[in-house]
Subunit: 148 residues, 6 copies
Amino acid sequence: MSEAKSTGIGKIAISLAISDYNDDKIIELYQKKGYSLIKGHVGAMDASKIFAAVETAVFRQNIIKENYHEEHALYHAISEAFNGYCRGPVALESVLRTTGLVFTVVRGNLSVSDKKNGEWIAVVLYGLIGSPRRGFEHEAIGMGIQSI
Amino acid sequence: MSEAKSTGIGKIAISLAISDYNDDKIIELYQKKGYSLIKGHVGAMDASKIFAAVETAVFRQNIIKENYHEEHALYHAISEAFNGYCRGPVALESVLRTTGLVFTVVRGNLSVSDKKNGEWIAVVLYGLIGSPRRGFEHEAIGMGIQSI
Amino acid sequence: MSEAKSTGIGKIAISLAISDYNDDKIIELYQKKGYSLIKGHVGAMDASKIFAAVETAVFRQNIIKENYHEEHALYHAISEAFNGYCRGPVALESVLRTTGLVFTVVRGNLSVSDKKNGEWIAVVLYGLIGSPRRGFEHEAIGMGIQSI
Amino acid sequence: MSEAKSTGIGKIAISLAISDYNDDKIIELYQKKGYSLIKGHVGAMDASKIFAAVETAVFRQNIIKENYHEEHALYHAISEAFNGYCRGPVALESVLRTTGLVFTVVRGNLSVSDKKNGEWIAVVLYGLIGSPRRGFEHEAIGMGIQSI
Amino acid sequence: MSEAKSTGIGKIAISLAISDYNDDKIIELYQKKGYSLIKGHVGAMDASKIFAAVETAVFRQNIIKENYHEEHALYHAISEAFNGYCRGPVALESVLRTTGLVFTVVRGNLSVSDKKNGEWIAVVLYGLIGSPRRGFEHEAIGMGIQSI
Amino acid sequence: MSEAKSTGIGKIAISLAISDYNDDKIIELYQKKGYSLIKGHVGAMDASKIFAAVETAVFRQNIIKENYHEEHALYHAISEAFNGYCRGPVALESVLRTTGLVFTVVRGNLSVSDKKNGEWIAVVLYGLIGSPRRGFEHEAIGMGIQSI
């Protein structure tokens, strides 16, 4: 996996989300450049579980400090990512659909070459969304980026 | 870039969208597996130009037939991708923001190992969105997938 | 065209909107039951023209009094009808689509057998929506009902 | 009930939805022209039940094949119809409202005179929506049309 | 608290909502000018409880007559207020957030100096919204105004 | 105007927005407590002008530093405020409505007694929204609060 000087925090989070075998390499590569990265997965028909899974993982791995100032930025990043993931009504169960997804959270500069815009957090949700019936589902992706 | 047996049409479109140097390799790899792929770019404060740029590129490169049945699927895929890209109000100029993005369109099976669910089209928009002021922007991504 | 005792103001407005040859019969039938009805048409890529066309027709034919109390109810009925017509982003031009539609406005009781709930206004938009290219369009309908 | 040469699939679905006594006639008339039509009803405060009721009826009566390619088109048609029916927040219970409605699903050409645009599916929801209190409700309609 | 001649029904409802110690004074002041005013509070993760709390308080204090014509206007005012309060997805629990708020409802003229536009109802929701964790919350406000 | 110990940044911004004669007093009172406050007004049918007016006033009065980290928080606060102000489609001109409003921006702690959650920015829009016809308008309010 090559990487441009201008690689953004979003591309880092997307790359990690769609990576099949290179998770450790991606994480190591960008940790060296000062980023914090995590990847997890969650399956849910109840959307709130996605928010909870991402928040829990982030706090457990100390990606953000457990204060409201930072949690607020994280919440908005998750909310935007989920909004983009849903592409319409921001809902799962009530519109009879379910999802299984991986999430990635990356904290650091806006891009690997940016030093002047402070810290940001990127949340990516990538997975399968569809009817609650095996195989009746297709991929979706959503990303939210917030200053932190 | 390795690739799992189950690589989905969405992951193909995302990979091509965030690729810096491997466009030709990705396109060649998946053309061999029966996919049609294109990549283009467009900058706009007027959202309709993004729809127009994707439609024009798709027709010019014969990704879909120029009939309404297929164009309708394409339109919905673009619309969902743009909705996800915007993560809230589906608007650019009226909420004082602008964007420069690359788009990818992939047509083929739902995944490289799927043969029974017919043809689909995936549209990915990936780029920078922000205030109409240089450098005041961050990344965004949106994807729409439709049966065709 | 038969008619149930419980025919609602919405069904009256829908019937008139989708009628091909029976406009006069429908209007006469329900005028006798105390309703005011109008039907018009408008084509537009600029959504505000739809609002303007309905408002103008309503005022010109004295369906509502030209005061803000009644205009506010009419506006909300048009807005809901247009929202339903769009089935997603409440937009035309910015998402590269255009429409040609007929609109109907009906004022009167909630249903032909209802006397105790006061006056209401129903607005129906029914037409073709699609790409700005002849024949690349399908039908849509939207309805808003407000107390007045 | 007269019928224009250009009667669209949407108008067929709307006519059947608002018909009081002519269901069999409408169904027979359009079956002869190559359409499949069904009509059912469902009452729910939980929106997912509306999706489930339509899907179940469609599969039971073989309007679409039980594969994901066709189910996906049906799901989007239901989703758009429900979106239009709600005219704002795509929700029932959480915004304290409930509904009782009839649904119609029609499969066939875009219009009775169209032969070149392939098959489409139209879903109409028409009923009463309002507070969970008898009589505190008014009519609503929503329609979604998808290529299939 | 001084007051301009043109004070609107919205400003009255907002003032009462954010008032800490002056509730009685505000209520008395505007009752003399012909307004009906109530203030209540509700805490909920389930959004429907907010709708129910406002409706119940309004009926119990006879701000509106318990018929559908007036209840419909009230419902729309609550719905708009809640929409504004949420500033995005019109949801609480499903996007993992909760709220505690005060609500005010004011019925009367559009402004204290307006006599020609009939009666209106204003609903304001003002409170704290955030994660279901003590102190992880910030203020929000929403207002809906309807003719009645 | 009395003030509770727990007065929040949102209540400060709302109070200043609806104040008729006490602007200087409110500004002075909260400047002493460490807040920065501004108030301005803008009339527009083009929504982007509202965003531009608030941003320009904020930069001109040095409420935030002119870097992207802070501008991003401001943009989101304006966007949420405008979303709440619109209470539905986030649009003005395209749905044939216009507005004249005052805006306030307050920067400082989440509440006057809070010291541990860092700095925040609150944006309030309060004004009249309606048809582009004098007097056919009612009040609206929207508020967005972001960590900065």
